[in-house]
């Protein structure tokens, strides 16, 4: 058990020099935060049962959507947000449902 505590530090593991910091677009972007409205209160971070957001290391800055693929699309982050329009939840493209005016059906 002793060896476990030794040398375990997140900094070491994530800054391994053999990793490139090349970004990749995720399969879906479920949560869109408007940084001009977000106050960085982290209520969304703390209500998310999946825990997919991380608080920003800069105090007051918007949280980071760290694990977008894990979103369950429940919308609790939006419900908890105290600022109207600061956070949006959107279904991925392939989950957007087609609807039409009934009078167009012929």
């Amino acid at each position: 058990m002793k060896s476990i505590t030794k040398n375990i530090s997140m900094k070491r593991t994530v800054s391994d020099k053999d990793h490139f910091n090349i970004p990749e677009m995720p399969a879906a972007n479920p949560i869109v935060i408007d940084s001009t409205k977000c106050t960085g209160c982290n209520r969304c971070v703390n209500i998310c049962q999946v825990d997919l957001l991380l608080p920003n290391i800069i105090k007051g800055a918007p949280p980071v959507v760290m694990y977008p693929g894990e979103c369950w699309y429940c919308g609790c982050c939006v419900v908890e947000c105290p600022v109207e329009g600061a956070i949006k939840l959107r279904h991925p493209l392939m989950n957007r449902v087609f609807w039409i005016a009934k009078e167009e059906l012929k």
Partner: protein, 647 residues
């Protein structure tokens, strides 16, 4: 995306021991109600939840209808009639005890929730005069408007109200901790449960909880057959962190399970193959009563169980001539004739008659109150609908008086799945329980989706409260025991093992989950062959023996995801053992055994547990619980007396 520093303090290995009298494992609907009931005994209650209790669990974001409230003042069905219907509809393969509790106490729990601040009746008179409203009590009903045993409720208010109540009662809540194992007396399997271990999902801190009694309130298993690495959050109907951890740790501790061989052809999600629940056109569940039209605008008629076309919209909510009541709701799939309610005519028949695809759900022709109760209340109060469906559709211009929404499948599904893609859905297997909702392990009670044949919100709330009461009574005479050091240390080694490996040559949680679900599709699909099941079991055992030790997680969040997949691995093995144990096909269990089509099924439950490396099974009559009313009253004298004294 730039790699960022982990924002939480890292506390790998740091140990914290917490004592309590009653430990509630899981803070969903069942866990909250268990903790609330237990707290009334005056003992210390600790609730541990992986997410955030205020809105966690399958019911955390809302609920639009509450089934089986047979004791509400307007119900024309008794708890006995309703439970017997649910049992009979599944040829006995259903949990008589837990569903009787649901039918008998569900409405009591609604009244509790109302006192906590939840909205259960139309206090704002939004639906005055509607056919589904009782003007005196202001309760709103769904489906069967004659028998009035299922209520429409404002479920988005429920979980936050329970959370407030927990705080008011002084329940200690620890969020963001995943329970990883049960601690047993002397560290021995099958001994009394004396506590649990946990890990903080953000810091990695290790917890030892010591208690007089524990109540298992975790989810049913998921992601056994269905997994996508790109959208893991959309794999199943329930939230992605609800994977059946409780089943896995219960199994390791020696708990007895039943109906674990049951799975159904996938109905939902599979990472976006289907559309989000309640978001596409259909006329089931939340959307029951909606009209369905074809692409020329022609209506698909509703018919009663005898095929008689129903002309009036109000007929959709009435039993057939000669029928006492009908069953509808989350776990009622294709009910027997006796209980079958109105349905639209089968889509394939309509297509053959010249109706043109696609079909649409159309609310425009419904009476105004029916339209508004579906679009605005049901869609709005049901989980996952308020923001992504009701609010987003409305903002983009959807008007239920003018627009129609496309249907993508039949029934309430919105996709077709392959036969080998399975789910634990519609009354799946789980912990076996007795009349106290105790498991076979002393000191471990169980409620909600941990139970075998669980279904919905009302069931979770009613069984949670019941288990909380009975566990509190049990705890009175029990002393807290010191867990064995080696049991704790072994668990620590298991939990922290993956962080010692290197990312460059290890396996991550997604790869492991994909591997498991492919094995389950290949070897435990729709039709079960013993030889295939054995190969599947061998491969999963190899995973357990050699792959688990080769996994890696970058941070506490990923480690928790990985520990969940270890639990999925355990649950998959339970399922394979259970499938091997049942020798013949069973229709109510949706179970097809290839090698013995000529054997008729015994019609009994098979229970399964583990002792050491040995698998122990036994047969149990489906009605092992005896006379429902008599036994309930025998085990709940105090509750009944208290209720009577309040009037």
């Amino acid at each position: 995306m730039a790699i960022r520093d982990w924002p939480y303090p890292l506390e790998w290995e740091k140990e914290e021991t917490i004592d309590t009298d009653i430990l509630v494992l899981g803070g969903g609907v069942a866990g909250c109600m268990a903790a609330i009931a237990a707290a009334k005994s005056g003992q210390r209650v600790l609730l541990v939840e992986k997410g955030a209790t205020k809105m966690s669990g399958a019911g955390g974001s809302g609920c639009d209808h509450w089934e089986s409230a047979a004791t509400n003042p307007c119900s024309k069905v008794t708890p006995e009639e309703l439970t017997h219907a649910m049992l009979n509809d599944n040829d006995g393969f259903n949990n008589g005890i837990s569903h009787y509790i649901e039918c008998r106490e569900g409405y009591d729990r609604l009244l509790d929730i109302e006192k906590m601040g939840g909205k259960i009746r139309d206090t704002d008179d939004e639906f005055r005069g509607a056919a589904f409203r009782d003007e005196k009590t202001r309760l709103l009903f769904a489906y069967d408007y004659v028998n009035r045993y299922t209520l429409r409720v404002w479920g988005t208010t429920f979980k936050p109200a329970m959370y407030k109540e927990l705080k008011r009662l002084g329940v200690r809540i620890i969020d963001r901790v995943m329970i990883t194992s049960l601690l047993t007396l002397s560290g021995k399997q099958e001994n009394r449960v004396i506590g649990a271990t946990g890990i903080n999902t953000r810091t990695g801190r290790f917890y030892i909880f010591r208690t007089r009694v524990s109540i298992m309130c975790m989810s049913r298993p998921s992601r056994i057959w269905l997994f996508s690495a790109s959208l893991p959050g959309l794999c199943e109907f329930r939230p992605p962190q609800c994977v059946g951890d409780g089943h896995a740790m219960g199994w390791r501790a020696g708990a007895e399970f039943t109906m674990m061989e049951k799975s159904v052809g996938a109905e939902f999600s599979a990472s976006g193959r289907s559309y989000p629940p309640y978001a596409a056109g259909n006329n089931h569940n939340t959307w029951y009563g909606a009209s369905i039209i074809d692409s020329k605008g022609r209506e698909i008629p509703y018919a009663d169980r005898d095929g008689n076309i129903l002309t009036g919209i109000s007929d959709r909510f009435m039993p057939s001539p000669g029928q006492t009541f009908f069953l509808k709701g989350g776990s009622v799939d294709n009910p027997k004739y006796e209980y079958r309610g109105p349905e639209t005519l089968p889509y394939p028949d309509m297509i053959a008659k010249g109706y043109k695809l696609p079909f649409y759900a159309d609310l425009s022709g419904l009476p105004e109150s029916e339209r508004r109760v579906i679009w605005g209340m049901m869609v709005g109060e049901e989980g996952k609908t308020k923001i992504p469906v009701y609010q987003n559709y409305t903002k983009s211009g959807f008007d239920p008086e003018k627009h129609v929404i496309q249907c993508y499948g039949t029934g309430w599904t919105s996709a077709e799945f392959l036969p080998d893609e399975r789910q634990l859905f519609g009354l799946p297997g789980g912990f076996l329980n007795d009349w106290n909702l105790s498991t076979n392990l002393e000191g471990l009670f169980t409620a909600g989706d941990s139970l075998y044949s669980s279904n919905c919100y009302g069931h979770a709330a009613a069984t949670g409260h019941y288990a909380g009461r009975h566990a509190a009574e049990y705890a009175e005479g029990i002393k807290i025991s010191e867990p064995r050091k080696n049991q704790v240390n072994n668990e620590k080694e298991r939990v922290y093992g993956p962080i010692h490996n290197r990312p460059s040559d290890s396996i991550g949680w997604k790869e492991l989950n994909m591997g498991i679900s492919k094995i389950m599709k290949n070897y435990c699909g729709e039709i079960k062959h013993d030889e295939l099941l054995k190969i599947g079991l061998k491969q999963l055992t190899d995973y357990e023996d050699s792959i688990v030790s080769e996994t890696y997680a970058y941070n506490p969040h990923e480690l928790v995801r990985l520990l969940e997949v270890f639990d999925i691995l355990s649950v998959s093995r339970i399922i394979l053992y259970a499938c091997l144990s049942r020798k013949s096909s069973s229709k109510p269990l949706c179970f097809i055994k290839y090698n013995s089509p000529e054997i008729s099924d015994t019609g009994s439950l098979i229970t399964i547990r583990q002792t050491g490396n040995e698998i122990i099974t036994r047969e149990l009559h489906t009605d092992f619980y005896g006379d429902l009313k008599k036994n309930y009253e025998k085990y709940n004298k105090e509750y009944i007396n208290e209720k009577n004294s309040i009037g």
